[in-house]
Assembly symmetry: D3
Homo-oligomer: 332 residues x 6
Amino acid sequence: MSRPVTLFTGQWADLPIAELAPKAKSFGYGGLELACWGDHFDVAAALADPGYVTARRELLKDHELGCWAISNHLVGQAVCDPVDGRHRAILPPEIWGDGDPEGVRRRAAERMMDTARAAAAFGVTIVNGFTGSAIWSQLYSFPPNDFQTIDAGYDDFAERWGPIIDVFDQEGVRFGLEVHPTEIAYDFVTTRRALAAIDRRPGFGINFDPSHLVPQFLDPAAFLDEFGERIYHVHVKDSRRTLDGRRSILGSHLNFGERERGWDFVSPGHGDVDFESILRALNRIGYQGPLSVEWEDAGMDREWGATDAARFVRERDFAPSAVVFDEAFARP
Amino acid sequence: MSRPVTLFTGQWADLPIAELAPKAKSFGYGGLELACWGDHFDVAAALADPGYVTARRELLKDHELGCWAISNHLVGQAVCDPVDGRHRAILPPEIWGDGDPEGVRRRAAERMMDTARAAAAFGVTIVNGFTGSAIWSQLYSFPPNDFQTIDAGYDDFAERWGPIIDVFDQEGVRFGLEVHPTEIAYDFVTTRRALAAIDRRPGFGINFDPSHLVPQFLDPAAFLDEFGERIYHVHVKDSRRTLDGRRSILGSHLNFGERERGWDFVSPGHGDVDFESILRALNRIGYQGPLSVEWEDAGMDREWGATDAARFVRERDFAPSAVVFDEAFARP
Amino acid sequence: MSRPVTLFTGQWADLPIAELAPKAKSFGYGGLELACWGDHFDVAAALADPGYVTARRELLKDHELGCWAISNHLVGQAVCDPVDGRHRAILPPEIWGDGDPEGVRRRAAERMMDTARAAAAFGVTIVNGFTGSAIWSQLYSFPPNDFQTIDAGYDDFAERWGPIIDVFDQEGVRFGLEVHPTEIAYDFVTTRRALAAIDRRPGFGINFDPSHLVPQFLDPAAFLDEFGERIYHVHVKDSRRTLDGRRSILGSHLNFGERERGWDFVSPGHGDVDFESILRALNRIGYQGPLSVEWEDAGMDREWGATDAARFVRERDFAPSAVVFDEAFARP
Amino acid sequence: MSRPVTLFTGQWADLPIAELAPKAKSFGYGGLELACWGDHFDVAAALADPGYVTARRELLKDHELGCWAISNHLVGQAVCDPVDGRHRAILPPEIWGDGDPEGVRRRAAERMMDTARAAAAFGVTIVNGFTGSAIWSQLYSFPPNDFQTIDAGYDDFAERWGPIIDVFDQEGVRFGLEVHPTEIAYDFVTTRRALAAIDRRPGFGINFDPSHLVPQFLDPAAFLDEFGERIYHVHVKDSRRTLDGRRSILGSHLNFGERERGWDFVSPGHGDVDFESILRALNRIGYQGPLSVEWEDAGMDREWGATDAARFVRERDFAPSAVVFDEAFARP
Amino acid sequence: MSRPVTLFTGQWADLPIAELAPKAKSFGYGGLELACWGDHFDVAAALADPGYVTARRELLKDHELGCWAISNHLVGQAVCDPVDGRHRAILPPEIWGDGDPEGVRRRAAERMMDTARAAAAFGVTIVNGFTGSAIWSQLYSFPPNDFQTIDAGYDDFAERWGPIIDVFDQEGVRFGLEVHPTEIAYDFVTTRRALAAIDRRPGFGINFDPSHLVPQFLDPAAFLDEFGERIYHVHVKDSRRTLDGRRSILGSHLNFGERERGWDFVSPGHGDVDFESILRALNRIGYQGPLSVEWEDAGMDREWGATDAARFVRERDFAPSAVVFDEAFARP
Amino acid sequence: MSRPVTLFTGQWADLPIAELAPKAKSFGYGGLELACWGDHFDVAAALADPGYVTARRELLKDHELGCWAISNHLVGQAVCDPVDGRHRAILPPEIWGDGDPEGVRRRAAERMMDTARAAAAFGVTIVNGFTGSAIWSQLYSFPPNDFQTIDAGYDDFAERWGPIIDVFDQEGVRFGLEVHPTEIAYDFVTTRRALAAIDRRPGFGINFDPSHLVPQFLDPAAFLDEFGERIYHVHVKDSRRTLDGRRSILGSHLNFGERERGWDFVSPGHGDVDFESILRALNRIGYQGPLSVEWEDAGMDREWGATDAARFVRERDFAPSAVVFDEAFARP
C-alpha cells in the first residue's frame, strides 16, 4: 500500500495552475490539493459553469495528477474572526465587500457552504480550511479574562459553523479544520472543546498538520491517537525550534523567516517533527488518504525543497503489518 | 551585604494594608512594594492630602518595614491597550469613565504621571508597572501581519509614554516596565525594540521578573547581562512548565491554576527559574535594590508560601566577591 | 493544614515496638503505620484479646504517636502468588502450614479478612498491603504468552480478593494495594485492569508509593490524577536510577544495595522522585491522610536517614490554596 | 570490505523456504540465517539423510544466497527453563513428549547437541540460540530472593550446557547465545556471570542483538567492547522506547505491538539503536561475519520492511581504516 | 544553485596528485582544495617555473576538477608557535633549516607570503591555513597566568601576520585561518580578539570548520552568524563526542582514533555537527564558495568514506529562497 | 559517624593563620588543611625548629580545630613542569634560585621530601599537592605528537617522584596528588597511566577533587569506584558549566571569574557536582578521612560562601548502613 503524495498549492498561488501542475509532477507528486485562491480552484466558477470542474480534472489528468481535497483557508478564517485590515488582503473582493465585520463573516460563511457544493461538483469529499476564532486574541489572560467570554467564543463557533456543516452533510463532503494558532482549535484542549461545541458531528473533522503542534511542545502522534476518528486529511509540514535562551517561543512580532525567531516552518524532514511516530499512528488509526505536502520554508529554494519533500515522504510511507508475526515465530 | 527582601502587595489587595503589614513582617519580609490598588497606596490621596504619605510611612515603620518602590500595573496596562471590558474590571471608575477607548488611554496616562508625583511625595524613586500594547493581539502573524502595523505599535508606545517619562524625569523617579506578555516588551527582541523606540532614555527601565521569561524558554540571566543598566527593580517569582505532549505552552484558553495548562506560576523555588544564575548576574551588574517577592501560586496556601518564599530568598542572597582570590593563592 | 507524617514500621521489625516508638518520636514522626509482623501488630492477638489493641493504643499515646493505618504486605503477597520457598521465609508458620500452595493461598486470604477485623477493632480504617499475582512470572512474553492466561490472572485475583473485600466492607475498612512489581497491579495499565477486574468497588484501592513507579519511567503525579479517587494511603519513598549504559533497569539478579544495579531505593529526597509534583497532585485530589515514610536505603545509616526523611517531608507538605487569588489581583 | 547481509528466517516460518528464498533475494539479501523450525532447516533430517543438507545448499545456491549460521532458539529455550504450557507451543512434539519438565529439558539438550552435528554436516560453524534460565522468574527480589538460588541457577546452566558445548567443540561449531530477557544472560552483569559459570570456554559465545539491550538502557557498543572476543554472530534488530510517563518499561503484560507498551521491536533504523556506534565497535573488535537482519515490527508491512532493512544495513556497513591517516598528514 | 563540492587533499598527501585526482572525481567531487605539501602544490615551484601552475590546471582539467583554494596549514603553524621537534616533522627542510625557533618562524612567514604569490599565479584567491600561537600552551591558567602575557600573544600574532597579509592584499588573495585549537583563534572569544588584534583587515579571515568547534560545545551556526563577513572558505568535517563519564573532553594524551578518547574526528554525517543549521546559516550570510570535505576518520576506510561524504554534502546543499513566499500565500 | 569537615587554607593565604583560625571556627569548620605557603605552615621552619610544630598544634587547639593533612601544591607543581616565569610567582625564593629550570625542579623535589618529613614531625600522615607534568603542554596533538614523548613524560614523572615517595614511605606519610589539568594525571586515562608508571606503590595516591573532573564531563563517583584504594584525601569543591554555544569548555585564555568562560569554580552546592553520588561512593569505598572544603568562587563573598559550604557539607555527610535491612523486612 502507499498513500497518494500530493502538493498543497496554497503557497504556489503566484503561479497559474497550468504552470504549476507539470512542475508538481516533475517534483515527484502524484496529485494536488487545490487551493481556492490564485487561479487554482475558483469556487464561484465551479458552481456557475459546469465546464469548469471538467476542465480542471482534464488539466490534472493531462499531468497524471489526482486530487482528493480542495482547501479554502483564507475565506474560512473570516467566518469567526474579529475582522480587520489584514483580512482584506486575503479575501476575494466580493467577500470583503464594505468591510463591515459582521457582513464579512456572513459572506465568508456562505462562501464556505458554496465550497462544499463546489467540492461535490468537482468530485472530492474533503474541504480543508480554517475557522477563525472570536477568542484567539484573548490568548493570555491579562487583563484577566472573563472566562464566560471564552465559553461564548466556542458557542459563536458552533453557531456559525453548524449551518455550514449542514450543507457539507447534504453534499456528502466533510470539512477538515487545520488545527492551528488563531483558529478555534489549536491544541488538544481547544480541539476537545471545539469538537464538543459542535456535538462531534461527523461533518466537522481535522486536517492534521504537525508543524503547528510541535512549536507548542505537543505530541502529534498522541494527537492522532486521541482524535483518530476525526482525522480526515493530513498535511506533511515541518517546523523547527531555534530556542537559544534569547529567542522566544512566542514569535517576537517578527515575520516568518527572520533570524531572531524562536521557531519557524521548514521543509519536511528538516525540522523537529517526528514523522516516524506519525506514520505509525496513521497506520494505527487506519488513515489511507493523501499525505499532502504543505511546503513552506523561508530559508530554502522552493523547487529544490518541494522535490526533496516528495522524496522524503515516499521513503517513509510504510504500510501496517498484514500478519500477526508472533504467531509465525511461535509455531515451529 | 544583603538586599532588602520585600513583598509585592498586589496579590493581597483583598486585605487592608493595616492587616497585611504585620502579616508580611511575620512571614519574614523587611519591606513592602506597595500596589496602587486596594487600599494599599492611593495615588490620588497621596497628591491631595500631604498627611496620607506620612501616615503610610508611619504604618510601615510601626511594623519595621521599608518601602523602595510602588507599583501601578493596572492603570499602566490601559495606556497603550485596545481597551475592552476586561479593563473595566481592573481600572478605578474615574479612569474608566465612559469607557471610550481613547479617553480611557488618556486618563490612564495622566494617572501614571500622577503616580510618579505621588512616588516622589512618598519618597520612593521607582514605580513599577505595565505599559499595555497596541500590537500584542497580532502575536501570531495570520492573517499575515502588515509589519508596518507592528512598527506603528512601537511608535504609539513611544508617543504615549514619552510625556509620562517626562514627568518621571521631573520628579526624579524612574519607571520599571515588567517585561511580560501583553506588554510592549515581553522578550529580548521586543525589549530591544521598545527601549530603542523610547531612545533608551534613562527614565524608562525594567522591573525584571524571570517568571514571565521562563515559559518562553528565555534565559533570565542573559537578560540581565544584556539589559543590566536598565534593571531598576527585581521581582522574585517563579513559573513551572508542565508540558507532557498534550498540554500547550500557549495556555489553551484556560485560567491559571487549571490542571491542563502547559505552564503556571508557582511559589519561588518550586518552579523552573534558575535563581543561582540570576543572583550571579545581579551581582555582576551591581544591582543592590530590593528582591521583591511577587507571590502567586494557585496550588498553594498563600501564607505558607509567602513564608517559604521569604526564607528561600534570604538563603540565596549572596554578595559578590570583595577580593580577587587568585592573587592570594598565587603568592606563597 | 498539615498531614500526619508517619513512619511505616515494616523495615524496623528487628526492633520491638516498645523500642521503636520512642525512636520514631525522636526522629520527628507524629505517628506509626504499624506492620503486621515482628511484634508491631499481631492480627491474631488483636482478635483474640480485647486488651491487645488497647495496650497498643496506650503505647502509641505514651509517645504522642498517632496511627491511621496498619499494613500486612507479607501475608497479602501469598493470596495470589504461585507459592514457593521464598514465601516460607516471610509467612507466619500457621499460614505456611504444610506449604501446599493452594492451602497457603487460602489461609493467607483468611488472614487478610482477619486483618480487616483487627483493623476495625484497633480503630483504623485503612489496611495497606500486597496482593500477589498469578501472572507476574510471565512478565516477558517469551516463550510467547497465551494471553488468555493473562486474562485468567486478573480473574483469579478478582475471585480471591472479592470475598476478602466483602469482609473489609462489613468492617468499614478499606484495602490499599501498594502498586508494585510482583503484584497484580504495578503500573497504569495493570492498575486499570485490576480495578476493572474487581468492578472498581470502593473497598479496594491503592497505597500510593512513587518509588516503584519511577524505575519504570512512570509519572507518579499523573498516576494520582488518573486514580485519585482510589488513593487511600501514601508512602513517601524514593528510588534512584544509576543507569550508565552497563547497568540494566531490570535488576541483573542482584540484591538491593549492590553497586552494579541500575536502580535502587533511597531515602526520600535522595532519588529521582519529584515530590513537588506529587504534593501538588495530592492537593488537587484532596488527599488529607498520612504521608507515611517507608524508609529503605542500603547505602545510608537508617537513623540518620529516618530523621532526614521526617524533616524532608515536613518542609514540603504544603496545603492547597484557600482563595482564588486572581480575583484579589483583578479588583483595584 | 563488506560483510554478508543475511535475513534470519525465524519470523518467516509461515512460508516454506522455497518461497522465502527468492523473496529474500529480491529484498536485497545475500544470504539466510536458517531457523531450525518451519521447514527451513530440519535438524533431524539433516542427520538422518545426507541428501538433505546438499539439497538445502542447492536451493540457496539457486537464489545466489549464502548461509553462515543456523539458529535454534526454540529448543534451546527449553534446556534450562522451568517448562510450562507455553513451551509446548514452540517445541517439536518429539521434544515435548509427555511434557514432564525434566524430560523436556533433557530431550532439548540432546537436540541442541544434534543441532551442532547438523550444522557441521551443513557446513556452518555457528549455531545461534537461547539457553533458557532457571532463575529468570525470580527477576524482582520480592518475596526476597535467597541469593543462593540465584547462584544455583548459573550452576544449573553450566551443568546443562557444558555437555552440549562438548559436542559443539567436537564438531568445530560454536554456540552464540542471543543475550535476551528470559535467558541465563540478558545484560552485562548476567553475561559476565554466565561466561564465568561456563569457564569462558570458547565454544560458548554470543549472538549480539542490540534490540534486547536498548530497552534496558544498556549501551550496545560498550557491550561489544567488553565481550568482543565472544561475539560470534550479529543480529541487526531495533527497538523503540515509547515512554510517556504512563507506559511502563516492564511491558504491562501486553503483547508486542499493543499501543500502551513502553517499548517495542521495530524495523532497523526506525528505533533507538545507535548503529553508527555499533559499526565502529564491530570494526574495532574485528568482526567480519554476517550482519543478519532479524526483522520484527508489529506496525509495518514485513516485505516493505525487510527491503528497507537490507538497504539500511548496506548503506551503513563501512570498513575500518586501512591506513594510519595522521602520518599522511604529518609528512609534507 | 549549488556550491562546488571539493576534496581537501591534505589527508591524501601519501598519494601523488596524479593518482589522487581521478580518484577524487570517481568519489564524486567537482574539485580539489590543494595542499601545499606532498606533491600536490609546490609553492616554490609555482613561483620559480611558470609552467608549473599551467600543468597543475591542466591535470585538474583533465579530470574535470576545479580548484578555488590552496592550503598551507603546516608552514603557517610555525609562524607564531614556540617551535619544537614536532614542527621539524611537518616542515619542508628549507623552512626548518637549523631549527633555531625564531629563524624557523621568520622563514615560515616568508613562505606564507610566497604562498599568496603562488596562489595568485595559480589563479585562486583563497589560501587556507593555520597561524600557530605563542600562547596556546598557557591554555589552563595554572600556575596562574600573567594575563599581560596573553595580551602579548595577540600582539605577536598581529606583528607577524600583518606583513604577510600585506602581501596577500597586494596579490588580491585572502587568507582563511582555520579556527582550531593550537591556533591564535580557536573559539568565539579568541576569534574576536584575533580579528581585533589585526584590525579586522579584510585580507585576514576564516576557513570555517565546524569539527573543531563542536568538541568545545560551541554552536557552529552561531559562529557563522557572528563572523559572517569574514567567512572565506568552508570545510565540511565532522567530530563525535563519546563522553561516558570516564572519557575526558581534553584528550587524555591519546592519539586520534584511540578508543578511550572523549571525542574524535569522523566522516561528515557520522558525528555531532548539525549541518542543517550550518547550511541555513551559510545561506543567510550569502556564502557561495566551495564546500570542501576535509576527510578524517580513524575508524573508517577512507575511500568508502570520501565517497559517502561527497554524496552527503550534495544531498544537503540547498539554496536559499528566491521568493518571499508569504506574499504568495497572502494574495488570493 | 561523621567525618571531619575542614577548610583548606590555600585560598586564604593573604590572612595570617592566627587570624584565619578563629574565622574558620566561626564559619563552622572542625579543622584546617594547612597550606605550605603564606604563614600557614612553613616546611623549613618545621624541620629547623622543634617548637614550630608544637606552636602550630597549640594554635589549632586553642580554636578547637583539628588537622589531618598539609598541602604543598605550589612547590610540587615545579617538580615535573617545564619551568617558566609563572613559577617564579608561586615558588619560595630559595626554590626558584637562579631560575634555571632543571635546578628549580631538583630543589622543588627536595622540598617535597622535606614536606613529608615536616608532616611527620607535625603528626599528620597525608600531604596533598601537585606533581607538574612534562607533557601537559602537548595536550592537543597538533603539530602531531611523537607519542614516544608522551611515554617519556610518564617516565620522567616516575623518575622524579620515586625518590620523593621513598622519603614519604620512610616517614610513614602518603602523598595525595590532586588530579587536575596541568598535572601528570588529570582524568581516568592519565590517572591509570600515572599510577602504573609509579608501580602503584601505596605511598602515592590521590587527593580527590570533583571540581576538576566535572568540566571534563567525567563522573566523579565512578572515579572513586575505580581508584578507591588510592583515595587518601577529599576536597569538597564545585564547578559550574555555563556553556551556551558561544563559550568554550577550553577556557578562551580568560581568567577565572570572567563572564565569557565556559565553566568556573563555584562554592560547593552551587555548581554541577553531584555530591549525593560522591557521598554514596565514599561510603562504598570506606573513606573516613576529612571532607576538606577548598573554597573558590569568583562571584561570591568568601566569608558568606565558606559558612554556606560548611553547612552544606554537614547536612550531606551521611554514614553507610550498619544493618542489612532487607533481613529485617524478610522476617515476620
